[in-house]
């Protein structure tokens, strides 16, 4: 089997807080094959954004490895990292704060090219900017406007164009459609899938929206309190969820079938707490309807239940 484009090994990121160490990402192992999309789902505070940023080294991991094409980039020095950055980019959730309000659309898109000096001739940079705008579906007339003059969907397209400016291989998409209206959200999702098809990007798609993640992902990783509790190919996960948390998450999505609403639903009680100095054992045990004493005794590793379907649950 070929080497995955992105792989993390026991990746950890702890934040120091006055109350103790916050284990935002705690021993996560994921891998993404080239040209595929890994969806990362979980509720707020589960560490999914931190994971994305730690992989890009926008925040330095506390421990563990990030392998890009088999090379551990955590050990790279600044100079080597600079080269790496051209290959991995990020798209943000908030189309307002992710664009510099003092720069025009063309300046924003050209900025990465100027910083990395991938193209030096200014006419060529202009051409590249126009190409990128066309790629993401931004009309030429917006080239000299400022982001605040545009709506959320167009702004998000600028963010995508900026991420594409350096011709990266791998893009972390941090909730890129959560702030958008449904019809715009669908336009952006289509765009991202088309881009993947034509240019072969590898995505890590972070979201809390399960219907979006199902739509776009090849594989899905479910995170809970800094740990990955279940990974599986997209269809397998939705057809055959194993971990009690995944089941609860799927049950909680309001479906379009209105006849459901008379049915009594399984809703998990309690809320997400923050993983500050967590105790060993399953972190979901507190809310888990099936928790037993063994669940809180020791840490639980991911186990392969069906080929390619891994679950971290003691009760298997």
């Amino acid at each position: 089997m070929s080497v995955p484009l992105i792989q993390t090994k026991n990746l950890k990121k702890y934040f120091k807080t006055p109350k103790g160490n916050l284990h935002a990402v705690d021993g996560v192992n994921i891998s993404i094959k080239e040209g595929q999309t890994l969806g990362v789902v979980g509720e707020s505070g589960c560490g999914k954004s931190t994971l994305g940023r730690a992989i890009l080294r926008l925040i330095e991991p506390t421990d563990g490895e990030v392998l890009f094409n088999g090379h551990n980039i955590v050990q790279y020095d600044d100079k080597k990292m600079l080269e790496m950055r051209k290959q991995m980019q990020i798209i943000f959730q908030d189309p307002f704060s992710s664009l510099n309000p003092r720069m025009t659309v063309s300046q924003i898109i050209a900025e990465p090219i100027k910083v990395c000096k991938t193209i030096k001739n200014s006419r060529e940079i202009d051409n590249k900017v126009f190409d990128l705008m066309e790629t993401v579906g931004l009309a030429e007339r917006f080239v000299n406007t400022y982001p605040h003059e545009l709506d959320g969907g167009r702004r998000q397209r600028i963010g995508i164009a900026r991420a594409l400016a350096l011709d990266p291989k791998f893009i972390v998409c941090d909730e890129p459609v959560s702030a958008l209206d449904v019809s715009i959200q669908a336009q952006i999702l289509n765009l991202m899938m088309d881009l993947q098809e034509s240019m072969g990007f590898t995505y890590m798609f972070i979201t809390h929206d399960l219907s979006v993640v199902k739509h776009i992902s090849d594989e899905i990783a479910v995170m809970y309190l800094g740990q990955c509790v279940e990974t599986a190919p997209s269809d397998e996960l939705f057809q055959n969820p194993v971990h009690p948390y995944t089941k609860a998450l799927l049950a909680a999505i309001p479906t379009l079938d209105f006849r459901d609403n008379k049915k009594e639903k399984q809703i998990i009680k309690g809320e997400v707490v923050s993983p500050i100095n967590p105790k060993p054992g399953c972190r979901f045990a507190q809310r888990c309807p099936m928790a037993q004493n063994v669940c809180t005794e020791e840490n639980i590793e991911l186990k392969e239940v069906v080929p390619k379907h891994f679950v971290a649950c003691r009760l298997l």
Binding site: I90, S97, R102, Y146
Partner: protein
């Protein structure tokens, strides 16, 4: 900042950012009023050499022409030494505006550097720098200036040093807080994601977004500086006679105030006009510089 403008075949014109700001600024009538006054003041003051002779009009005393009221020859009258008030006001204005401009430039540069370092790097560096600034801020600027002038002696240079030092902490604070509010935004992270160096992030992404409050602080601070210079001169620690300065003129005129009120009214109005116009400009700029506020 380099303007990267792409010319289009289509009819989209690029409004330059400066033009857009000025366009918005123009719509604010009060700010325009302040701007016009300041421009007039600057023109009158800077061309003074063309129609006034410093020696003859400003410093030479003429005991025969004491306390003359406003007239065609002496539009603002003459003072207790028979010197023309008009000429003295204008040359006094040179000093006031110069001191204001000079101290603000020094304090702005120094304060921005200090504040930007503290805000961007945070942590221990931030703590140490800002506690030192706090010590300065705890003492009123006027008192610091008095202390410095008292120990170094009076004179234009010492006043400039004193005022620059006493203004710096305010700029450091404003710049630091502006930077803190910008630093956490996603576009800074986007810049880091493509390997932008700290220097470029600060200069290209952070400062332009923090410039609004800084410029406003600068204009407002210039206004207070003019007041402080006048105050220092008034109590005798500032510009020394016979050099004219608005504060000194106020001090000189105060003993005769009851009989010749124009001696204090004229420099008083000059100070008010300068300070007011700067304040109005500051407010107008704050609104004009925010690209999110549509015109």
């Amino acid at each position: 900042m380099s303007e990267h403008v792409i010319n289009l075949k289509s009819s989209v014109k690029k409004r330059s950012q400066l033009k857009a700001i000025f366009h918005k600024f123009k719509k604010n009538k009060l700010a325009m009023f302040g701007f016009v006054i300041l421009v007039i003041l600057i023109i009158i003051v800077s061309t003074a050499g063309l129609y006034l002779d410093y020696e003859a009009d400003v410093e030479t005393q003429d005991m025969k022409a004491m306390f003359l009221g406003p007239s065609w020859d002496h539009p603002f009258g003459t003072d207790q030494f028979g010197r023309d008030m008009f000429a003295r006001i204008i040359y006094g204005g040179r000093i006031s505006l110069f001191v204001g401009l000079f101290t603000i430039s020094i304090a702005l540069t120094l304060g921005s550097l200090i504040g930007a370092t503290a805000g961007y790097y945070g942590g221990k560096i931030d703590n140490i720098i800002m506690r030192i600034m706090d010590v300065f801020l705890a003492i009123p600027a006027t008192i610091i200036a008095i202390a410095i002038v008292a120990s170094l002696g009076t004179g234009l240079i010492n006043i400039l040093i004193a005022l620059s030092i006493s203004r710096t902490p305010q700029f450091a604070r404003v710049v630091r807080s502006a930077i803190l509010s910008v630093k956490e935004q996603d576009f800074i992270e986007a810049a880091r994601a493509c390997g932008t160096k700290d220097r470029r992030i600060i200069l290209r992404h952070i400062i332009p977004n923090a410039i609004g409050p800084i410029i406003v602080q600068a204009t407002l601070s210039m206004a207070t500086t003019i007041l402080v210079v006048a105050g220092l001169s008034f109590i005798g620690l500032g510009i020394q006679p016979p050099t004219p300065e608005w504060g000194t003129m106020l001090a000189d005129g105060k003993s005769q105030m009851r009989y010749y009120p124009y001696l204090v009214v004229v420099p008083g109005i000059a100070i008010v006009l300068a300070v007011l116009s700067l304040n109005l400009i500051g407010d107008g700029l704050r609104d004009a510089l925010d690209p999110r506020l549509k015109n």
